[in-house]
Each structure stands twice: as structure tokens, then as C-alpha cells.
Symmetry: C2
Subunit: 231 residues, 2 copies
């Protein structure tokens, strides 16, 4: 009997779209693909796909990302659901946006869309289809807020990294130059880094010390409320 109650309601298509941020030790990047079907065929798009009957949204995001790019075991987080009536001119589709953070150099693609996928510098990203530009703006704001309130970098940096690379990452996310000495002091006060007895010799003749995150301390800081990284 209660089925009647549900059955008179309108059904809709539900999609997921992934804003995939990457870092290549220098700049913040975003992974986009060239759409290979109408409408908007040939234009740049976020990586996305439809929700299926047998999965929840998180599972759909993981499947879409893995199928199209070959990437798996990626940190994904739901950020917002977009529902403007005409957002997709093909058919009404509600889309749930996810954001992902990855280290560009440690991830190799072998998904079905690999030829169509491309990493863009976040500052040089092309115009996107539908409301995908709006999704990217929200994801950037989320990433910025995260960087100001929690330690960040674990998913974006290689295991070992230099202080300069960490500063590059914060500068990319916050979109401003930071004072080096001030940055180092702030980062050290977070107490989430371990300085290694090992140098990256590729950057200068003297080399630069390498660091790793202290995973336990890092996770603890991420969980903490009321923390702020003021820079």
C-alpha cells in the first residue's frame, strides 16, 4: 500500500562528478576530460557518470573514477549536490560533486578515457560544460578552507618532500605568495612533520632536506576542532 505513496512521485537521473585536484611539486592541477558524446561533445568536462541501482553515491564516485582513469584507492569526499532544472540539456540530471586529492607523479592512468584526460594547471583550466565551473569553484573554496583549518598535503605530496614543495602547495591552494620564514615557523608549530637525514640533491648543489608527515600526529590534527592555520 505504501508503494503507491512512492510511485506517484517523479524519478530523476542522478550522476556523480569528480573534481580531481593534483599536485606535481610545483603547481596545483585539475584533471579534466574531453567529453565524447552529445550534448557538448568535444568540450572539457569533469569526470563523471550515472549512479546505478546497486551502489551508493560513494561507490559510484569510486567506480567512475576507476573506470575512466584507472585510478583507485583515492581519497574522495562528497561536497555538494547540484540540481538546477536545465543544468544538463540532455535530460534532467541531478549531480553530486565529489572532490579528490592526489599526487600527480605517483599515479599512472590506464582507464578507458586516458587519451581524453589531461592535467591542467588550475590557473589555466579551460571553460567547462554545464555547471562544472561552479563545482570547481566550490571545491577550490573547500580546499582553501581546509588548508586554513587543518594540515593538508598528505594526499597531494609524494611520501618524501622538501619544505619548498610544501610551501608551493600552500601557495597554490591559497593563491598567494607566502613569506618563507613565517611559513616554516607555522608549519613547525603544527608538529606534524618529521625531518629526515636525507636530502633532495636535484634542487641545488647544497640540496634540500626531505620531510615526511608523522601520520598519527597529522590525523590527530585533522580531527581536532578549533584549530586554525593563520598565514
Amino acid at each position: 500500500m505504501h508503494l503507491n505513496y512512492y510511485q506517484k512521485e517523479d524519478q530523476v537521473l542522478l550522476a556523480v562528478d569528480c573534481i580531481i585536484f593534483g599536485f606535481d611539486k610545483e603547481n596545483l592541477k585539475i584533471l579534466l576530460i574531453k567529453r565524447n558524446f552529445e550534448p557538448e561533445k568535444g568540450k572539457w568536462s569533469l569526470i563523471g557518470g550515472f549512479l546505478k541501482k546497486n551502489e551508493n553515491l560513494d561507490e559510484a564516485a569510486v567506480r567512475v573514477l576507476e573506470t575512466l582513469t584507472g585510478l583507485n584507492d583515492i581519497y574522495l569526499e562528497q561536497i555538494h549536490t547540484y540540481s538546477k532544472i536545465d543544468r544538463d540539456p540532455g535530460q534532467r540530471t541531478i549531480s553530486v560533486a565529489y572532490f579528490a586529492l592526489i599526487d600527480v607523479d605517483s599515479h599512472h592512468f590506464d582507464g578507458i578515457q586516458i587519451d581524453a584526460a589531461h592535467w591542467f594547471d588550475i590557473k589555466e583550466a579551460p571553460n567547462l560544460i554545464f555547471d562544472h565551473n561552479e563545482m570547481v569553484q566550490k571545491a577550490k573554496a573547500r580546499l582553501k578552507r581546509r588548508a586554513l583549518s587543518k594540515p593538508i598535503g598528505f594526499e597531494l605530496l609524494p611520501e618524501k618532500f622538501t619544505m619548498r614543495q610544501l610551501q608551493n602547495l600552500y601557495e597554490s591552494i591559497l593563491d598567494k605568495k607566502l613569506d618563507k620564514r613565517n611559513f616554516i615557523n607555522k608549519i613547525n608549530s603544527l608538529d606534524v612533520l618529521i625531518k629526515l637525514d636525507e636530502k633532495d640533491m636535484s634542487v641545488s648543489r647544497k640540496g634540500a632536506y626531505l620531510y615526511v608527515f608523522d601520520k598519527d600526529k597529522y590525523e590527530k590534527k585533522v580531527e581536532e576542532d578549533g584549530f586554525i592555520f593563520k598565514i
Copy 2:
């Protein structure tokens, strides 16, 4: 031609559920209704309903809230979309949770569900249907994070309020007692209050000064990044 692409995909029901927080100058409350249809008829539930063809999610949340309670012009914010396959035993339904903040005393209900609706003290709320408990937990965490990073109270307090009422609100949200002098110092350092030359005489023989929010300064602080209210 592209329609074929969309038409082979699964469609689902999409609903909105509203976590409505209220404040009565003493305690944080939540508005719940007794569900009047199966499944789970007679149990306590968030206020919700299905998305219709001719509206986006924000509009659906506004409509559902107004139809069921008579409340309009309420601050609503989307927080998360829930999609576990069996979350609704009636039929697969994806639900987008919204949270709302209102001042209990200034809002009078006259919607169709008014007899079934009830304000519960947040600490004494009953067990809810489906995954609604999980939604409330997320909304409480969001409210707490908001109270720690932005000024809060504009939507929850009456226009004029005492410092004690504002402290009650923060204590309810953060779920802990706060030191009075420390709280007053922190709040004053925010510089978002205007002290009136007028007292609430109902609280004691001496009375307590009334305050209003300086709306411009308040809004500016809400927009600011990197602010933290450490208490």
C-alpha cells in the same frame, strides 16, 4: 540521439530532509514530526518530502518546510546527500539533507502537519526513522564547527537578547559550560554586537542589558576566512 545515452540509465526518487534547529533563549531544540504513513508510520522523523520535476533542491526544501509547518523565509543550507541502497524500506530514495536555524519564539506554525510536529530539546530527542539520526549528527557537527569558526546566533536569537542568552546558545551548541567572563571577552573581541540602552527586566530585579547584532559587521565576519572563535 543523445537521449538514448541518458535513457538507458537508472532513475531514482530524490527527497529532501530538513534538520530544523531552534533556540528558545535557554536550550537548543530540534523540530520533528510523527510520520503519518508506512513504512515506519507513527515514528518520529525529520520533516521531508520528494523533489518535483519543476523545482531544484533548494526550492523543494523551502516548499516542504512551508507546506508542513507554515514556516517561510527561513535560512536553509544543504549539508549532505544520503544514498545507502536500503535506507528507505519503501522504495530506493536518495535524500539531500538541509539544515535550518530559527528562533523558536518568533515563529508560529500553521502548516498541515502542525499537530504532528514537536520541538524537542536536542538532548532529549527521540530515536528517528531511517538514517535520520545520522543526518542530525552531521548537522550538529556542522553547527558546532560553524560556532567555532564564525559568529552565530543571528537566525537563532530574537532581535534583542541578553548576554546570558547568547552564552546559553553557545553552551547548547558546543555542549559544554563556558566561563562567563572569558565568554564575554571573546564575544566582545568579535565586535559584532551593539549594546542597547535598554534592559530585560524579567531576568532579575537589576535586569540585564539587551544587545542586537550589528548586521553589517556580523555578515563581514561570516564571510571572512581564517577566523576562529577559540573557547
